[in-house]
C-alpha cells in the first residue's frame, strides 16, 4: 500500500515538475522584421512575450527570431500561423565547425592572399525621405468591391495623412492614420463605381497638393468591368495555355494593362 502511494507521489511530483517546466517556458522576441502578430491582433515588438496560450501569425516578408530562457534561438521566416508548441521545430542551429579546421582555413587564405578586400570610396548614400506609393499603381482600373491602398513610409514620422480626390467633384477626403495601408470599400460613399480618383499619402497634414505625387484610380461599374474582362479573356486564355498560374496572370494584366483586382 505504502509502495503504491510512494510511486503515485513520485509520479505526481514528476508530472508537476515537467508540467511547470513546459508551461513556464516563454519565448521573447530577440529580433523581428515586418509585422508578426500574436493571435492576429497584437503586433509583436522586440522584447515581447510569446506564451503557451498564443498563436503567432506571420505574413509575407515577416521575420521573427525568438529567444528562450536559456538563450536558444528559434528562427521563423515563412508566412503561416504557428502554435506555441510548434516553435521548438524552428530551433536555430549553432555553428559547430571544428576550431582547428577554421584556423587552418584562415592560415591558407592568408597565404593565398584570399583575405577580404574592400574598395574605399568617398561617398555617402542618401535615399529620398518621403512616402513612396506602392499600390494601386498609377492609372489603374478596378472592378473590385474593395481597394487596399498601401505605401512605404521612409520618413521618421509615424502619423501620416491619406488623401483621396474625386476628379469629377474635386472633393478631397483626408484621413489621418498610422501604418502603411488602408482598405476602403466601394460603398457609394467614399468610393463610387464609375468614378475616377487620385490618391496620395503625405507626412504633412497640409501639404502643397500641387507638388504631391498622386496615383490615379478608376473604379469601374459592373458593366464596364464585364466589358473589360471580355476584352481580356483572349489574353487570359493565351496565358493559361502557356501554363501561367492565376496569380501570375493577374499580376501581368495589372502591370501591363492596368486592369487590377485587389
Amino acid at each position: 500500500m505504502e509502495r503504491i502511494f510512494l510511486s503515485r507521489l513520485v509520479g505526481l511530483v514528476f508530472f508537476f515538475i515537467t508540467g511547470s517546466m513546459c508551461f513556464g517556458q516563454n519565448y521573447y522576441v530577440f529580433k523581428k522584421r515586418g509585422k508578426p502578430a500574436i493571435n492576429a491582433t497584437k503586433v509583436l515588438d522586440r522584447g515581447g512575450v510569446f506564451s503557451a496560450a498564443d498563436t503567432l501569425h506571420m505574413g509575407e516578408n515577416d521575420y521573427v527570431l525568438f529567444v528562450n530562457k536559456i538563450g536558444e534561438l528559434f528562427e521563423l521566416t515563412d508566412a503561416n500561423i504557428y502554435a506555441f508548441s510548434a516553435i521548438t521545430d524552428y530551433k536555430k542551429k549553432l555553428e559547430n565547425e571544428s576550431f582547428t579546421k577554421k584556423y587552418f582555413v584562415y592560415v591558407w587564405q592568408q597565404f593565398t592572399n584570399q583575405h577580404k578586400r574592400k574598395q574605399e570610396a568617398g561617398v555617402v548614400y542618401r535615399e529620398e525621405r518621403n512616402v513612396a506609393l506602392v499600390s494601386p499603381i498609377d492609372s489603374v482600373r478596378t472592378g473590385s468591391p474593395e481597394v487596399k491602398f498601401s505605401w512605404n513610409n521612409k520618413t521618421d514620422k509615424e502619423e501620416l495623412f491619406f488623401f483621396l480626390r474625386d476628379l469629377k467633384t474635386k472633393h478631397l477626403t483626408k484621413i489621418g492614420l498610422t501604418g502603411n495601408e488602408i482598405l476602403l470599400n466601394v460603398d457609394n460613399f467614399i468610393l463610387k463605381p464609375g468614378q475616377t480618383y487620385e490618391w496620395s499619402v503625405s507626412d504633412a497634414a497640409f501639404p502643397n497638393l500641387n507638388e504631391l505625387q498622386f496615383n490615379q484610380l478608376n473604379v469601374l461599374t459592373k458593366e464596364q468591368y464585364e466589358e473589360l474582362l471580355k476584352e481580356m479573356n483572349t489574353i487570359i486564355t493565351a496565358f493559361k495555355f502557356l501554363g501561367f498560374s492565376e496569380a501570375e496572370i493577374q499580376e501581368v494584366i495589372c502591370l501591363d494593362y492596368k486592369f487590377c483586382s485587389f
Partner: protein, 398 residues
C-alpha cells in the same frame, strides 16, 4: 664504444653551442628591443606592435565556438532620450524587478526639474549601480552630487593601462589610500550574486590584479532593447531577476558609423592597422559582468613562465638550426625559412587552443625571439670561426 662516445661528445658540443647561441641571441634581442622602444623614430611601429596580439585572431576570425544568447544580462539603449524619458524608462524597468540595474550614464548637471528629482530618487534605489570615471591623478568625473549621494557606484574605466587602445584586460578593483574602489561591472556582479556566492568563488582574490576579459560576443550576444521599446512593452517578465545595463548603444542601435562610447576590442575584424572602434562601452561592461557572474575567468601565463618558454623555444631552435646548418649546405636558408613558418603557424595554433580553454599565452614575443635566435646562428657561426683563428676552441661548428 669509442665511436659512440665521440658521437656523444659531438652531441654535447651541439647542446653547448645551442645554449651559448640562445644566451647571446637573447641578450642581443634585449639590447635591440631597448633601442627599438626608446628611439622616437620607431614610436609608431612600437605602438602598433603593443596593440597587436596574435590571440585577437581568435575573435576576429570567429574561431570561437558560437554560444547561446546571454539571457542573464539585458542591455537598454538610451539613444538620445531626454532626462524625463530616461526617468520614466528607469521607473518602468524597476517595476519589472530586475536583480540589479547598471546606470552607465553620467549626469553632469542638475536641472531642478521634476524629472531630475524623479531620476535622482530612482538612482538611489538599493539595486541601482551608478558609474563615474576614475582619475587617479585628478578629480573624478561623475554625476552631479544630487544624483550620486548615497548611491552604489563603480568606476567605468576598463583598466589603468593608458598605452593599450584595445580593451583586452580589466581591473575589478582599484586600491586607493582609503578604500578598495570597485569597477562598475564588479559592483554590479556583487549585487547580482549573493554575498555567499561572491565569497565562495573567492572573487575578491580573483580580482586583485587585472584580468583578461573573456569576451562572449558583441551586441547580438545579449538581449538589447531601446528605452522607447521598454516603454511600449506590456509584459516585462524578460527583465525579472536579470542584470540590466542602461547605456548608449548607438542611434539607431548598433549603428556602425556611430562611435560615441565605442572602443577597440579583440573582436574587431581588423586585427592590425587602421580601423574604427567596434564595441560600445555598455557591451564591454556586459561581457565583463557575464564573465564575473558565470565565473569563467581567463588565466594568464605569468612573465616567469613566458621567459622559461621563450628560452626553451630559442634553445631548441638554436640546437636544431646549428645541426641543420652543418647537414645542409645549399638548401639551408630555404629549409630554415620553411621550418620557421611551420613553427610559427603551429605555435599560434597551440596558443589559440590554449586561449579556447581559458589560458592566455602571449605568443608574439616567443615567436619573435625564437625566429631571432634561429637567424642568430649565422652570426654565432662567424663568431666561432673568428675565435678559432685566435685560439684553439672546440665547437660543433666547423
Amino acid at each position: 664504444m669509442k665511436k659512440l662516445s665521440k658521437k656523444k661528445r659531438k652531441n654535447l658540443l651541439l647542446v653547448r653551442d645551442g645554449f651559448v647561441n640562445t644566451v647571446l641571441s637573447l641578450f642581443t634581442c634585449y639590447l635591440l628591443s631597448l633601442l627599438f622602444l626608446n628611439t622616437s623614430f620607431f614610436n609608431p611601429l612600437s605602438k602598433a606592435l603593443k596593440d597587436f596580439s596574435f590571440l585577437d585572431v581568435y575573435y576576429a576570425e570567429r574561431l570561437d565556438p558560437q554560444e547561446a544568447v546571454n539571457t542573464e544580462i539585458v542591455l537598454v539603449n538610451i539613444e538620445h532620450q531626454s532626462r524625463e524619458d530616461l526617468a520614466l524608462s528607469l521607473q518602468k524597468i524597476q517595476q519589472a524587478q530586475p536583480k540589479v540595474i547598471g546606470f552607465d550614464i553620467i549626469l553632469k548637471t542638475f536641472g531642478k526639474t521634476a524629472s531630475d528629482s524623479l531620476l535622482a530618487k530612482l538612482l538611489k534605489h538599493e539595486n541601482v549601480v551608478q558609474t563615474y570615471i576614475f582619475q587617479p591623478d585628478s578629480s573624478n568625473t561623475s554625476s552631479h552630487t544630487f544624483f550620486k549621494s548615497k548611491a552604489i557606484r563603480g568606476f567605468a574605466n576598463f583598466n589603468f593601462n593608458p598605452d593599450n587602445a584595445v580593451i583586452r584586460e580589466f581591473n575589478g578593483f582599484y586600491e586607493s589610500e582609503e578604500e578598495m574602489l570597485p569597477a562598475f561591472s564588479s559592483a554590479m556582479a556583487r549585487q547580482y550574486l549573493s554575498e555567499d556566492v561572491w565569497n565562495s568563488r573567492e572573487l575578491d582574490a580573483k580580482l586583485e590584479n587585472s584580468r583578461v576579459i573573456n569576451y562572449q560576443g558583441g551586441l547580438d550576444h545579449f538581449i538589447n532593447l531601446t528605452a522607447s521599446q521598454i516603454m511600449e512593452l506590456e509584459d516585462l517578465s524578460l527583465l525579472k531577476d536579470k542584470a540590466v545595463i542602461l547605456g548608449y548603444l548607438g542611434s539607431p542601435t548598433g549603428n556602425s558609423f556611430d562611435i560615441e562610447d565605442k572602443h577597440f576590442t579583440p573582436l574587431n575584424a581588423i586585427t592590425a592597422g587602421k580601423s574604427v572602434p567596434d564595441m560600445y562601452g555598455a557591451v564591454i561592461h556586459a561581457n565583463i559582468l557575464s564573465m564575473l557572474i558565470s565565473d569563467r575567468f581567463m588565466y594568464k601565463i605569468s612573465n616567469f613562465w613566458m621567459i622559461v618558454l621563450m628560452f626553451l623555444c630559442s634553445f631548441i631552435a638554436s640546437v636544431y638550426f646549428i645541426w641543420l646548418n652543418k647537414r645542409l649546405k645549399i638548401s639551408y636558408r630555404t629549409v630554415r625559412k620553411a621550418v620557421i613558418l611551420v613553427f610559427s603557424v603551429l605555435l599560434v595554433w597551440i596558443a589559440l587552443l590554449l586561449f579556447k580553454s581559458g589560458i592566455v599565452l602571449k605568443i608574439a614575443p616567443i615567436i619573435l625571439v625564437t625566429v631571432f635566435s634561429a637567424g642568430f646562428v649565422k652570426y654565432y657561426k662567424h663568431l666561432i670561426r673568428y675565435i678559432k683563428t685566435k685560439r684553439k676552441f672546440k665547437s660543433y661548428i666547423k
